[in-house]
Symmetry: C2
Subunit: 272 residues, 2 copies
Amino acid sequence: MPSAVANPRPSAVVPQTGEAARRAIRSGEWTGPTSGLAPGYVQGNLAILPAALASDFMRFCQLNPKPCPLLAAGAPGDPRLPSLAADLDIRTDLCRYKVFRNGELIDEPTDLGKHWRDDLVIFALGCSFSFEDALMQDGIELRHITCGSTVPMYRTNVPTTAAGPFHGPLVVSMRPLKPADAIRAIQITTRFPAVHGAPVHIGKPELIGIKDIMKPDYGDPAPMKDDEIPVFWACGVTPQSVVATVKPEFCITHYPGCMLVTDRKNSEFAIM
Amino acid sequence: MPSAVANPRPSAVVPQTGEAARRAIRSGEWTGPTSGLAPGYVQGNLAILPAALASDFMRFCQLNPKPCPLLAAGAPGDPRLPSLAADLDIRTDLCRYKVFRNGELIDEPTDLGKHWRDDLVIFALGCSFSFEDALMQDGIELRHITCGSTVPMYRTNVPTTAAGPFHGPLVVSMRPLKPADAIRAIQITTRFPAVHGAPVHIGKPELIGIKDIMKPDYGDPAPMKDDEIPVFWACGVTPQSVVATVKPEFCITHYPGCMLVTDRKNSEFAIM
């Protein structure tokens, strides 16, 4: 969910690798957001759930890979995700978290020291930063980035596939593109199934239950020109919105814009 | 150009390989059209020009690979294209031809015996049959096939890149598709750059100079439903229309619907 917390030290040197980014975050030198940090390295959405819910949530991700591309899952009580970074400790390596009890926000801490439990399971999910990086490298203009705003996101009338208590509508992000760029963007993002992959919809917002494209449910409206069409990708807000509906006894997510920064490169996730 | 000549022997056994198809055509057993013949084998558009124009035309194809995907070119005076089929003789292996002198149609023969010249150069260009085969294998409905009509084609306001005397507008074919099928169709046809490849445009016909989608310049209108968007591919009629503009001293093309059937499989032309 690419929202933002103002970084109080904008003059700080921007860390250029995943490891340097985590070190700066862990030490409190970098307080967020993570957009623009460690260019080329994969950033992820975070969800942490009690083990009792973990297998249903993992099944939910497997059934809905486009909104919930699972990069890694932890063992119960284990704060590490060595497949994403050898030194990663989920309790200290994000700038800020949101902690929920029975669906209610109870804390927005900068570390999880006092909230960590022996039964918690970490889920790291792919995020649109990775494919946006590939689109921009190809010279495609992304309106929300040009405008310095958050990408517009919409709750659709498309249901996800339920698993245990987890169910709810697909949330999509929208980027207005010229038709030729839309075709190129489909080609490029198809190469990145681990970070949402190809769009789920193109043109005709009303077909997926979007009444007014200028009134997103999350994020900011994106100005659309006459020679552009709306292109919709499955969005990592989907699992957050689904988890919120379930009101789990306990749950932790990243704070919007403060993503998990890994040692994996975006290019590693290209399938060809 | 997938138009049609009625085959006078509809009860004839349909040849299942490229070689069997050419043999049936050569002997007069099969008189056209070639749609449905030799399923899975590449069929091509044909253009034959005097050697004096050949290098400009080849350069035109190289500059405009989406409308003019060159599968093979012959040596001057040589009626063979061994890279497409060992036994291929262009003078006898198509059901019917169109012969033009100074831009005027002078004959529609079933063989080229009396028209062949020592300076003629053959050009075989990829055709949409190949990618339509891949789309249908994926379960995507193609409206013009459902309707038993010719795909609608439009002269656009998009110029091709000129080479020597060859220049003119891009001609596109249009297939109405549901948004999810449109995305899938872009993915599938991207794999086939040798047979027109990915679409060149999607949605908003007016952006490429199409005033009325129900009034194609060639072929038949394709009924479009409310939940569909128009998807446009570069069309093999482009080089035919460009060659017609040049009014070459001499020129031969295939008769609409009577394509060159080769021994190459469509699947060989998938890049991944």
